[in-house]
Amino acid sequence: MKKYTQTSGEIGDFSQLPIWQKYALVDLLYVAYGLLIVALVLVSYVLGMFNLLPHDPQQINIELLMASPLSDGYLLGTDFLGRDILSRLIMGIQAYFLPGLLAISISLIVGVVLGVLSGYRGGRIETVIVYFTNLIDSFPRLVLILLVIAAFKPDIYYIMIVMGITGIPTVTTAIANKIRFLAQKSFIEAAIALGLRTRVIIMKHILWYNCRALLIIQATLGMGEAILLETSLSYLGFGVQEPVSSWGNMVQSGANYFLQGNFWPSTAPALAILFTILGFNLLGDGLNNILEDRRGR
């Protein structure tokens, strides 16, 4: 349904509309949900950092094995060793948050630099960069990660560095294509004719205004992917090791008791993974729609 509003005799100004009339409701919901998840993750990360938890996540309590949720001050119950699931969930964020940020920073920063170089400069530099990205792309990510684990040690930071590096080609290609496409546009030529410095044109007119939606998408998708990778590797026993908690190893250890009727210890971290990744992806999606939409107005 289309809606037309006029505020007074003058033509109304779009920017003065309240935010819920400016953008599609579904996008706003996506963003709101995404921001809620990001805020939760951030707060939990800080709580975990300062150890402000309801219980010690590694404290074993023999008297309360497999307690159900909401019992005795254990909000989400306990696991097979009587450890508090809520505290372990909060601590689990430590396992992926910084490493995930590291991974997306590597792929975004290196990817943007290489993308700008190959898109704006072209020539021999471009050829070298294309070879480099193709080389990275030709290795399956999981094989590379297992190689690194075998060669060094199963450390989550090593894994995330590999993930960051394998994420570079996507960003590089996207940015390079965008720049190559935009460089032919007359508004870039007009910006040069206006006397703007090349640096300003690349950083502001191309990257900030024309590529930020793309970068936000890449960042949020990358975070979702990092969580998934960390949890699946930890599930398989390659990532974060017991007794340090990670959502992945929580699902794994809880899974042994799943069919005995104690489904909760594995379901809680599984749901956390689901909603968190969903949150990051929807945030990227919604922001993309909102930022892209502005051009059409």
């Binding site: 003058e10 033509i11 100004d13 779009f14 920017s15 546009k185 007359s186 508004f187 030529e189 007009a190 910006a191 040069i192 004719a193 206006l194 006397g195 703007l196 410095r197 007119h205 205004y209 024309n210 502005r294 051009r295 059409g296 107005r297």
Partner: protein, 369 residues
């Protein structure tokens, strides 16, 4: 004329801009020996068919040619009150042209060296001393940035109005000056929310906000409706008389040129074939004109012709293929004024631009002997 005492604002001399047609292994001579002058507070119109090299000449002045080999020679002397420079100063050392029998065979050009040196010269001039407006204004504004922001960016870059408040005020002043209605509202609009005419007004505001000495207007009315075209020309006429800015006006529309230009250069096949005051070049008397100018003017529908139900005249043939430039006059194949006496000369020798009256030059053998 002041030009005799002080140097003209812009003096283009023997400018050559070539492109390389890879599929044909040959050079396209987009601009081939153009010489032009723009005096202070003067509007020079450059007119010609599509493909005559007029836009490329303007882009060459701005240093915006990116395809190879691009500008390969000539000089562009710029002399405003603030800056005196040859825009191609010292650039010839990056180019080596090998010629045989006066024809370019090989061009060696150090593109990056040229670009860097050119940037060093043009960097401080572009937008500040020489501003440019383009055809198709909607495509010339960044669709992701509001008009006001683009305008304030230009103002902050080139004028003393550095604070956000000052530059915003200045931007609104210029939006008002180019007669955009409700400037405060348009300030926050994205280009897609504005009409083509409004976008061109905004472009003009951006170009003039730095108070440049020279404005290069590359087909400023192309891509606009007929009524909007005439309004943009009105605006340019008004701003010209108010600010006294010098303009190099490129257009294929003779009516636009005749309304704005003091002097007119007619280009054909990458060269200027006629150059002189607007009254003489665009006037009635066909006998003192280059045959191409005469044919161009005859092909413009006039009220008289429409009333008489005359057929519109056309110029037979196509625009010169600047890959295979004939040895003689470039217009020879399409010329309808070749007389038997000069035919031989027309076919074999390229005529010079020759002064046939004070301030009126024509490149035709009819006037050469």
């Amino acid at each position: 004329m002041t030009a005799a005492i002080t140097p003209p604002l812009l003096k283009i001399d023997n400018l050559r801009t070539y492109f390389y047609a890879r599929s044909k292994h040959s050079f396209v001579r987009a601009v081939d020996g153009v010489s032009l002058e723009v005096g202070h507070s003067e509007t020079v119109g450059v007119v010609g068919e599509s493909g005559s090299g007029k836009s490329i000449a303007a882009m060459s002045v701005m240093g915006l040619i990116s395809a190879g080999p691009g500008v390969i020679g000539g000089s562009i002397k710029f002399a405003s009150h603030r800056v005196q420079k040859n825009l191609l100063e010292g650039l010839d050392k990056f180019v080596k042209v090998e010629e045989q029998h006066g024809r370019v065979m090989v061009v060696h050009k150090d593109d990056s060296g040229w670009q860097n040196a050119s940037e060093r010269i043009m960097g401080s001039l572009r937008g500040k001393e020489i501003a440019m407006i383009f055809q198709n204004p909607r495509a010339s504004l960044n669709p992701y940035i509001t008009v006001g922001e683009q305008l304030t960016e230009a103002i902050r870059l080139h004028t003393a109005n550095k604070s956000p408040k000052e530059s915003t005020e200045r931007a609104l002043y210029w939006l008002e000056r180019v007669k955009i209605d409700s400037p405060r509202l348009r300030f926050d609009s994205y280009p897609s929310a504005m009409s083509g005419g409004m976008c061109q007004r905004a472009m003009i505001a951006m170009a003039l906000s730095s108070e440049p000495s020279l404005l290069i207007a590359d087909e400023p009315t192309t891509g606009l409706d007929a009524t909007i075209q005439s309004k943009i020309v009105d605006l340019m006429e008004e701003l010209k008389s108010e600010t006294g800015i010098s303009t190099l006006l490129i257009s294929h529309d003779i009516s636009v040129i005749s309304r704005l230009a003091d002097r007119v250069a007619v280009m054909y096949g990458g060269a200027v074939v006629e150059y002189g005051s607007a009254q003489l070049v665009l006037g009635e008397d066909a006998s003192i004109k280059h045959p191409y100018t005469a044919a161009l003017l005859a092909s413009v529908p006039s009220e008289q012709k429409i009333r008489d139900k005359d057929n519109l005249q056309t110029i037979d043939g196509d625009v010169l293929d600047t890959i295979n430039v004939p040895p003689g006059c470039r217009f020879f194949a399409r010329c309808n004024q070749v007389t038997p006496e000069i035919k031989e000369k027309c076919a074999t020798h390229h005529p010079d631009l020759r002064e046939i009256a004070p301030g009126h030059q024509v490149r035709c053998w009819r006037f050469n002997g």
